[in-house]
């Protein structure tokens, strides 16, 4: 009896991190090569999205470059964001932001909405996604406007 009770407690404790994950990250469904539904249930704001793409803390233009004349320092480690909205659908953009490794396992693009499967994450960032669901939706909304 004691043994099964303690086993039950162990099971509950083991289940806690999963519960915390469920609270932190919104659930999403991958369909084909995209995530069709917004993580927040509503479309993002492209103006806020543009500001986020340019913000250093979002890390986008550390690697990417694009039609951002006011940004002096942009990377060339990754493709241009110009025309991103013509090349990809919002669903495809969303999956690439959430977890690009699902599209290409060898990609160096970080998974912006994933907290598992990472190694030695610094304490300030542990168990937090790089971007929130709202931020991802804002960025998707902005990238979708980049057409050529």
């Amino acid at each position: 009896m004691m043994r099964s009770a303690s086993r039950l407690i162990v099971l509950i404790i083991a289940a806690l991190p999963a519960a915390a994950v469920a609270q932190t990250l919104a659930r999403y469904a991958i369909v084909g090569d995209g995530i069709p539904e917004p993580l927040t249930g509503q479309p993002g704001d492209p103006t806020r999205g543009r500001a986020l793409v340019l913000a250093r803390s979002s890390t986008c233009i550390l690697c990417h470059f694009g039609p951002f004349p006011e940004a002096r320092f942009q990377g060339d480690l990754a493709p241009s964001l110009a025309g991103a909205g013509s090349r990809s659908t919002p669903a495809q953009l969303r999956l690439r932001l959430v977890d690009a490794s699902q599209v290409n396992p060898d990609t160096i693009m970080p998974s912006y909405y994933r907290i598992d499967g990472l190694t030695r994450v610094g304490s300030a960032w542990r168990d937090k996604p790089i971007l929130s669901a709202e931020q991802i939706e804002d960025i998707v909304a902005y990238l979708a406007t980049l057409r050529e």
């Binding site: 550390l62 990377g75 480690l77 970080p110 990472l118 994450v121 960032w125 542990r126």
Partner: protein, 258 residues
Amino acid sequence: MRPQALLAAALLGMALPVLAGEIAPSGRRSGYDFMSADSKAMQDDDTANPAMLSVLEGETLWTTKAGAADKSCSDCHGAVDVSMKGVAARYPAFSAASAAPVDLGQRVNLCRRQHQEADPFAPESRELLALTALIAKQSRGMPITAGGDPRLASSVARGRELFVQRQGQLNLACANCHDDNWDKHLAGSAITQGQPTGYPIYRLEWQGMGSLQRRLRGCMTGIRAQAFDFDAPDMIALELYLMSRAHGMTMDAPAVRP
């Protein structure tokens, strides 16, 4: 070229395998090569290179008696430009006493404890940077030879394992940038190959001197990983791997870097 010579060249190529993603010896480039003309000029002129102030301080420390033994470095080692010639190029080196590799700063501190009977200098302290800058300068122009000692093989292998391991919230390995994308730019800055030819360096971004360990910690924080503690075994293994990866490259310490 005759067929036999071609075959010999092919066999030689096979005998010296370059691991996937590694930079071929002929393609290796020091951080110096990536710098602006202004920064190169600053490094090339000893009267303009700010790291030389640290070297000067090191010269004073070299001859200053310290610790319960009341000995200076020069009491045992004599003239630094003779006894320390080429030493930095072979560090980290195996320490029989520690049964592990130690880097140059740790070697200085071992000497302080064992021979001067003095307290070790703190990592990144002015004094430790000054002495290591002075010692590293004595290897200027010499080829890096660290990592050849067979007793270091497991540490070199551990260092490479760390180099190719993805880590941090951004989930990047050192190799993702410094083996595979060194010719590109991160937010406008050259990525470089991460060849540690010039440490300790005067880094313009720091407005001061720093060791390879400090530089590596900066990169680890950049990828939002938990930085290794100063002098941790994994830190030394990574330093050792980087030096062995730069085998044969010319030392340019104490260097200026952006």
